[in-house]
């Protein structure tokens, strides 16, 4: 198949970018989107032009490194799929494909389609550690986790931190990401002791990075490659309200369960 790419090209964080029209001929429908870009880059390099810079690592939808906005939708037209797992058969022959980087003040463009997502790392780091005994293996069944909590924590932990939620949100809000991270530890007994301090610290870090607020557009959940539920945003709000109005002013280290 033949495609016409309209790609965002930007030298570095300080320069102004522009859209570049690139013809992508003889693309196999079985290629992934990133393989298509590899082929285009190979040709650009041979022709003496600079290849399109984009982020990627595992290419199997688990690391969260990849991600571009394809025809106005982060990670492209296939729901619940990362850019690396998106295949060219979801495009039509002759289609114009507009490719832009994830856009947010907190995610500055490094070059072309590659963005700096260390804002997410700082939010994670702000969440801190869990209290966990090291040394001998824990006794089986010493710490009971209900089926409901285990399932919900697992759903939250599915977040790979790709940033598509921020990219899709008209407010560039990171609430789905932060909600998932706060919930996945807060739901489990191992993460309960720091539940209140964690939500404080992560929300403070989120705000410091300059993300917007949630106004319930639900665009984040529509593009999330892991289908993380907006329930976790509700849970984030609930946890922060709980932390401010219910948490007792003591070191919460005995607050297990």
């Amino acid at each position: 198949m033949n495609l016409v790419l309209m790609v965002w090209r930007q030298e570095n964080a300080r320069t102004v970018g522009h859209m570049q029209r690139i013809e992508a001929k003889d693309i196999s429908p079985d290629m992934s989107f990133l393989e298509m870009l590899d082929v285009v880059n190979q040709r650009l390099t041979v022709a003496g032009q600079s290849p399109i810079t984009f982020d990627h690592d595992c290419r199997e939808g688990i690391c969260g490194s990849c991600g571009v906005v394809i025809n106005g939708v982060p990670h492209g037209p296939q729901p619940g799929t990362t850019t690396c797992q998106l295949h060219m058969r979801h495009f039509r022959d002759g289609q114009v494909v507009v490719i832009e980087p994830f856009r947010a003040r907190a995610f500055p463009v490094i070059r072309d389609l590659m963005i700096d997502r260390s804002a997410f790392d700082r939010v994670i780091a702000a969440g801190g550690f869990i209290t966990s005994p090291t040394g001998s293996a824990p006794d089986g069944n010493a710490m009971l986790v209900s089926k409901g909590a285990a399932d919900a924590a697992m759903d939250a932990a599915a977040c790979i931190g790709c940033g598509a939620c921020v990219a899709a949100c008209p407010n560039a809000s990171a609430m789905l990401f932060v909600g998932a991270k706060v919930s996945h530890l807060g739901l489990l007994p191992q993460g309960r002791p720091e539940r209140w301090s964690r939500v404080h610290a992560m929300v403070a870090a989120m705000d410091a990075e300059g993300f917007g607020g949630c106004t319930n557009y639900l665009e984040c959940t529509a593009v999330c490659p892991k289908n993380v539920s907006p329930d976790f945003i509700g849970r984030l709000n609930r946890d922060l309200i709980g932390a401010v109005f219910l948490a007792r002013p003591r070191v919460a280290s005995t607050e297990a369960g």
Partner: protein, 221 residues
Amino acid sequence: MFGLIPFFRSTIGKKVLMAVSGVLLFAFCVEHVTGALLFLKGPGAINGYGRLLHYSAALIWFFRAGLIVAAVVHVTFATLLYFQELAARPVGYRNRRYLRASYAARTMKYSGPFLLAFVIFHLAHLTWGYNVVPGPFIAGDIYANMLNGFRTGWVALVYVGAVSLLGLHLLHGTHSMFESLGLRHRRVESLLFGFARVAALAISVGLALAPAAVFLRMIGG
């Protein structure tokens, strides 16, 4: 740890304030529908209702103060969040497609300011008695003032248009306030959404009946 001030400075805290003030404004709307429906019963009913409201100066100013505070908080934090959101994406997309965002959600920032403008017009018309509509203003005769106003075509249309916008604002707002207060959960999701729809529709239709009835000459000839 967050104190109260840092909490209300945080993105989530600001939204909580908008939701709490939104609940108060919502409750006022429900009460206001009752008042507006009394117009349909006739002059005795609505003027009597007006006298009841004014029974005690202390009481009415207690409620007015609450509403003024709620409105100021609601608009102030909406504005602050709006600028935070503008700043959060300095470079926009060339190509943008919405997948789930509803029309009501995307127009909150327009329906809100229009409502503010309407509220001021509405107070000027029926509370302060300024000359914003043709015809005389009679202090204390709510029925006559409403009838007089709505007899002018454009005034009735402004009222119907504004309460339709209110319905749109409440359609998203009522649902949004549950989420801002942390009440979102898939088990109650359809319930909350259903409540938002019914409430928004009931409030806007309830408020539109009086101006529409006069406009269509079903009341007052």
